[in-house]
Amino acid sequence: MMLKIKPNELLNSAEICAAKGQNALTAMFGADERELGAGYAIYILFTDLVSHDIKTIRVDFPADSELTYESLTPLYPAAAWYEREINDMFGLRPLGHPDLRTLVLHETFPWGYYPLRKDVDAKKQIRGQREYNMSTAQGNGVFEVAVGPIHAGIIEPGHFRFSQAGEDILQLDAKLFFTHRGIEKLVEGKSIDEALIIVERICGACTIANTLSYCQALEKLTEEKVPKYAWLLRMLLAEVERLYNHVGDTGNLCAGLGFAPIVSMGSALKEKIMHCNESLAGNRFLRGIIIPGGVRKAISPETLRELQVTLAEVEKGYENIVELLANHSDFLNRVHATGIVRKQTAVDLALVGVAARASGIDVDCRRDLPYGYYHTMNFDVPVEHSGDVYARLVIREREVTQSLKLLRQIINNLENSATQELSYENANYRTEEGSWGISESARGSNLHWLMLDKKQKIYRLFVRSASYPNWPALTMAVQGDIIPDFPLINKSFELCYACVDR
């Protein structure tokens, strides 16, 4: 469903689509459609849990009009980052935004540079100066702790500014997007297959989720159907990806509190699954196997057997980890009531994935916006209510069980599948029409929005991976905790820098 409106109707339309806050703000992004004779546009996507669909609002900005609109952020705090990004990328300015600092473009960019506008040549070197003030607390005895962007471990860059009163965190501001790659600009004008290769590499840990969202957005633009066998294999890959992420993240969480043996156990188990990935896709990160229309190759019975053996090992090993953690009072003492995200905060920020489910929001787009053959499968969506590190850990633990359950059903289906049809052939995609694709990654819902031009090349691709809405939750979760607990809280979210630096 798409609602086309003028900027001054935005607040009313948003209220209708949000249905009194029942429907979460799923994404918001700009587009430069001047070449199509439509000026600029802002798309706002709400997930409707009743009709299992996404409601879209399209705000038109004629190119010669004033490029401003009334900010949604005061009503829907989840819009804060999206509006800042649209302001950076397109120069469409939200009025009444409480914090309209630059988000993506840091100090080295000049003011008035809007890279996602079609007439801007992104390859041209550009230098400039703008301000980026970190938001800090003031007061007697309050001091700041600056961490990053270069960290002691081998992780991606992010700058964190803590405002401290002793060990207590008063406020945290995160400056991200240091290694923004401009992928959305890069793919414009590229063919569908060229863009696929780039989309696969947005994030190392969410290859399948990103590819699946991209392919689904495309497949909505044609009447051709993806064969069932291909869908089963895609779901298999998606669950394997979730599994290796969750297993590794469970171990990594323990690195935040210096519990080294569990970190080793988690890495060892994750490595086992990644070995299996190599047999499945030819590489450890599951690249190159999903293509628009289906999958590139079938799974051999040997690989299927290897996978089954690995799954049995992983199940046993993971149960061992879960049991060790569940009976370790010192460990439980650290994770209980640490880094709490309240349910209202989670609703306001429209959190997704593990972080949302740990705070009592029952969302999972495998069930809510069903794709593939998930609706024929039997699985539960675990929900916890305490919103702390412990809840996020337990959600992961229970999702591993669910993924294993799903994988067994999928393998069963694959074994009984009569045909091995891999994909449809030579589809012609509708052009100049937007379409979205969504998939549930290990970190939450991953959304791609796509529009093709007349030559079947990418006109606009918008990527919103799960970490994007969840990053601001981190700054909320640490308030009231002490600074030595930050690494643990951070690891419990397992947020991805590359996912937002797209």
């Binding site: 700041e144 509190l257 519990f259 080294a260 370790h328 003492n333 650290r334 002490i482 607990d485 690494p487």
Partner: protein
């Protein structure tokens, strides 16, 4: 009667031995820890390689520091070596250089100067590390004195040698078992081990001891590392001399203690910073019981 010159030579041998062995003991602990965590781990001589590496690196000093920053590593090492000279390891039996209070005070001087230097560069991490170190030491020191009291009560002396001779005749009492447990807890806190501090972490926000030395590099850092390793060995020595419940050669006691540290560090995670006080109170109560049991 051995003459003074010989005494000095013996003392120097003791200091050299302690300094030379310290990196090895820390290396053994790390190796054992690695085994228990399903890792191969670095060689047990890694401590020496690290010191050699740091020694070859240039020393970077920020312009915001005073001379305290330069002097602190040397004062730290000197205080630790002086404390090492107090230990009765069989080389200097007849010379009484000081008792257990001198020993504890010398270590306190080292901690004081390091805390001061952590504030010197004016970075927030240094201040955080310094404040945490003092918080921990404010908890450790009274309990340490209780431990001394429990060990000194029976022999009626505070000389380490005297307490040691007395202790060898009183193994396996309820009192000694209690104070052994309590002092092991103190040892973990004093040496910056899990559950109080994590010596292996790269997470600067959670560090305590490592946090104070973040501004140091090159040779100054090498001196600090060496001093810390010697200090760790000294505490293990005190534990072995006064609180180890079985009579074994000193070297074996040291290795067993190092192994025990590795086990505890592998089975536990770091506790919440503000929970350390309950941990130290537990050690204190054990010591009170130990004193009562005498």
């Amino acid at each position: 009667m051995v003459d003074l010159g010989q005494q000095v030579i013996f003392l120097l041998i003791q200091l050299m031995l302690l300094t030379l062995v310290a990196p090895l003991v820390s290396g053994i602990t790390k190796k054992l820890k690695a085994y228990m965590q399903n890792r191969l781990g670095a060689s047990i001589f890694q401590g020496y390689y690290d010191l050699a590496k740091l020694w070859q690196k240039p020393t970077v000093i920020t312009a915001y520091t005073s001379n305290i920053f330069l002097a602190a590593p040397f004062i730290y090492l000197l205080s630790v070596l002086l404390a090492a000279a107090v230990l009765p390891l069989g080389f200097s039996v007849n010379v009484v250089l000081g008792d257990i209070f001198v020993f504890i005070s010398l270590l306190a001087i080292g901690r004081f100067i390091m805390t001061l230097s952590s504030l010197d560069a004016g970075t927030s991490f240094g201040g955080m590390g310094g404040s945490r170190e003092l918080y921990i030491s404010a908890l450790v020191e009274p309990v340490m004195l209780l431990a001394v009291l429990s060990a000194a009560l029976q022999p009626g002396t505070t000389s380490i040698a005297g307490m040691h001779i007395n202790y060898t005749t009183h193994y396996f009492t309820i009192s000694s078992a209690l104070s052994c447990c309590a002092f092991f807890a103190i040892l973990l806190a004093e040496n910056g081990c899990i559950p109080v501090d994590n010596p292996d972490t790269h997470l600067e926000l959670t560090m305590i001891h490592e946090c104070m030395t973040l501004e140091y590099s090159g040779r100054l850092l090498a001196i600090i590392h060496l001093a810390s390793m010697v200090k760790g060995l000294l505490i293990i020595n005190i534990f072995s001399l006064l609180f180890f419940p079985v009579n074994l050669p000193l070297l074996i006691k040291i290795i067993i203690t190092a192994a025990a540290i590795a086990v505890v560090e592998s089975l536990n995670n770091k506790m919440r910073l503000f929970k350390v006080r309950f941990y130290m109170v537990t050690a204190g109560v054990l010591l009170l019981l130990a004193i009562v049991a005498q």
